[in-house]
């Protein structure tokens, strides 16, 4: 089940009414029920695996919590009798015991997920409508694992109600595509009682509409061209491949960030604030900046739970600091890649990010000197150059996921130089009435929608956290919804030809 379904939207309306009319203490159970239903429709196997995960994680977290309480009580009781070293040794021993539990819990969860994925691959029961949904079913693992580690670190209170923990794990708006919420960020608003806040509700609806605009007018439309372009990878090399990479970037952003807008919007309608996941990623000035703007919750998740722990891990402490950082960076990005899928293209994608980040890190002092020496680096034009450079670099890195074929992607990179096909590329548009399976008018619509995307500032500002005082007028939303209905890519295409050749 996807967001783009009349059943989903209809169900959502019913849910909103129930949510704000039932007694407030029924709010979170209602959301849990809805989430269970949502996942049940996605497939019983996934739901069952998830519930087992929640149950096991609940047990592990409760046990770690008990150990922590006992530890604290012991230290408090014997505070005067223990020397600092004794106390440290005691705490370390306790920590080891808790760590064993944590690792056991994580291992169990991950093996279960791997089992389900393998079983599904063998049975081929899963229909993958888009890459995003493929990644989606393991997002709950990010959330529950983050929670377990947070409990181990003592960052969050242990959740004593297993059902509340279940709701945090499978809350349906962010279930499929994220954002990857952290327990300490969302628990209060997710599990608390909410009054109807019309302003927030309205902004939630606007966010949903904005998401649909991105997904249906830009995303799905460009996907048609992408599917055509990647169906003939041998033919479309050189400029064609570069064009494909650009379109892929626009598609991925529209599809992914649009879906996230819908998630965030739905959560807002329930009075729940979840984390932002995109903040104008194509305005990034360098790759560090980019990863603070694109799929933010994934980036911070890997930073906090993989990169930082690794960088202060005991076995690495003897190494020089810079080497330590590089190793941690590479491992982190390797893990990030492999999480997307056990396939070469994801691994290469992850490592490519890691390598570029390492090189950029080493070049940082050089850049700093360069920037200090030349004043033009403070000009707007230079900023534009930096943004463009980052955009192109990330476009190349991102392209590993277009073809699911690493050698082919490298061949395409090479073809930019060896055989760019400039002439053929520009002739193509003159010689064909349909450009890569999309009529010129369709490209025009996609292009205009992208212009609207860039020109409309309200959501960028909201994502950055400075909610604008002046909001778009109601008529803007009416027009946007109308545009989605007319220019959205959905349903059966109308083909007069089809009618013409019919024989009665």
């Amino acid at each position: 089940m996807t967001f783009i379904s009349p059943w989903f939207l209809g169900g959502l309306c019913v849910l909103f009414v129930l949510y704000y009319t039932l007694p407030k203490r029924a709010q979170w159970p209602l959301l849990l029920l809805a989430s269970l239903g949502f996942y049940a429709l996605a497939g019983w196997a996934v739901l069952a695996a998830m519930l087992v995960t929640v149950a096991v994680s609940y047990g592990v977290a409760m046990h770690m919590g008990k150990l922590k309480i006992a530890q604290k009580a012991h230290v408090a009781q014997h505070r005067d009798a223990m020397t600092r070293d004794e106390r440290k040794a005691y705490n370390a021993a306790q920590k080891r015991q808790q760590r064993t539990w944590l690792i056991a819990g994580l291992l169990f969860n991950f093996s279960l997920l791997a089992g389900v994925k393998i079983a599904e691959a063998l049975a081929r029961v899963e229909i993958i409508p888009s890459m995003i949904f493929f990644v989606g079913i393991s997002y709950y693992m990010f959330r529950i694992s983050g929670y377990l580690i947070d409990v181990f670190w003592g960052k969050v209170e242990v959740q004593r109600n297993p059902l509340k923990l279940a709701l945090f794990t499978i809350f349906f708006p962010y279930a499929m595509i994220g954002p990857i919420s952290r327990y300490n960020n969302v628990a209060d608003s997710l599990l608390g009682e909410k009054r109807m806040d019309w302003d927030m509700f309205g902004r939630g609806l606007q966010r949903i509409i904005w998401g649909f605009f991105k997904v249906m007018i830009i995303g799905f439309r460009l996907l048609l061209a992408i599917n055509h372009l990647r169906a003939y990878p041998g033919e479309y090399s050189g400029m064609f491949a570069f064009f494909t990479m650009l379109v892929w970037g626009a598609y991925l952003y529209a599809d992914f960030s649009g879906a996230i807008d819908i998630s965030i919007g739905i959560a807002m309608c329930f009075g729940i604030r979840v984390e932002e996941n995109f903040v104008s990623p194509f305005r990034a000035r360098d790759i560090f900046d980019y990863w603070r703007r694109w799929h933010i919750t994934m980036g911070t998740w890997f930073r906090d739970y993989v990169f930082y722990p690794m960088s202060v891990a005991k076995p690495l402490q003897k190494l020089p600091t810079r080497l330590k950082i590089h190793i941690a960076t590479l491992v982190t990005w390797f893990t990030t890649g492999i999480w997307h899928g056990v396939a070469w293209n994801f691994i290469v994608w992850g490592l490519a990010n890691g390598v570029v980040i390492m090189i950029s890190q080493e070049l940082k002092p050089l850049y700093a000197k360069f920037n200090a020496k030349f004043s033009f680096t403070k000009s707007k034009a230079y900023t534009c150059f930096a943004v463009l450079r980052t955009f192109l670099l990330l476009t190349l890195i991102r392209s590993f996921d277009i073809y699911f074929d690493v050698p082919l992607t490298f061949r395409h990179f090479a073809s930019f130089i060896t055989n760019p096909q400039f002439g053929a590329f520009f002739r193509y548009f003159g010689e064909n009435d349909v450009w890569f399976d999309l009529a010129p008018l369709e490209w025009l619509v996609a292009g205009l929608a992208v212009v609207v995307l860039i020109a409309v500032p309200w959501f960028r500002r909201e994502a950055r956290g400075d909610a604008p005082a002046k909001r778009p007028p109601a008529i803007f939303w009416a027009l946007l919804v109308l545009a989605i209905f007319i220019f959205g890519t959905y349903g059966l295409g109308f083909d007069m030809q089809y009618f013409f050749y019919m024989q009665f």
Binding site: A474, A478, F485, Y490, G491, F494, M496, Y498, M502, F504
Partner: protein, 358 residues
Amino acid sequence: MKRILSIILAFVFFCTAFWAMQRLLMPKYMTNPFEGALTAEYYQSNFAHDLIIIGSCEVYSNISPVVLWEEYGVPAFIRGNPQQLLWHSRAMLEDTLRHETPRAVLLSIQALMYPSPPHDGEPYNRMVFDGMRLSLPMLRSVRESMTPEESMLSYVFPLLRFHSRWQEISREDFTFFLRRAPVSINGFVMRADVLPVGWIPPPAMLSDYSFGQQAIDALYDILAITQEHGVELILFKAPSLMPHWHDEWDAWVVDFAARHNLPYFNAITMTDTIDHQYHTFNGGLNLNLAGAERLTRYLAPWLMDNAPSLSDRRGDPALDAHWQQLATQYRAWQAAQEAEIAETGRVYYSILLRNALS
């Protein structure tokens, strides 16, 4: 307060614009395939019909309501669409009964041969249901006819189906934005030209001559509905050469008619009356104007004999005046088509459009 007002205004604007865009983007069916406009034309009629004729192209170009009125005094309306299947026909009947209760229904049973919705049936579904007023029976029939990729919602809001037509908006869409022009006379699609029968594919041997359950169920539904409303049901098979109507099928219908005491008129055997060298415009599939008038003159006396509910209604001033108008239009269309045939040998869609615009 100001905010609420602006929200209300935006909502009203949205509904109006949505309606207007839907109106604009829906195919107008004024040129090929103009048959899509047939369903909606019923609502322009006077809802005073003794006989409702329901079926596919086997009825809508084969029976002339004007001849039926002028010579036998039976006010009739044809509710037919291309490839109208039996569950479509049931929806047509139910839709008709919401507006009037005719004395009799003449049902073409040819569609019994289609057991289930064809996988490419979407355009036919659209032509049947586009223009039909929304009702529960209609939606039920939509559900039974839909191909897997269609959605019910697109029949409630056709914009969902036709939104991608924004690229091919033409003058036709603006000209007929509010009012459509008639493409039929009481559901009768007139074709005055001749395309004689050519090669007819030999009938295929079937391993199983039984009808599909969905079609049979729809037939029983129709029987029940007519009985409930006190409407006489008459079964009919047109004299089409294609698709072949097997004797085994006919035997089933004869048996069904006998069991339920229904009159059944099979026109296939009328080879002495209908000559497919002259009386068809598409090689034996359907009758042309001359053929339709012939068939009507043959069918009508049988109807008067076998359907006791029908009688000669001529002399009723309101009906006389109404049918006078229809007959005038009928003759005008006929003259226009004959003029074009004299010039080009065929009736082209342009003349049909000119008919429609007249």
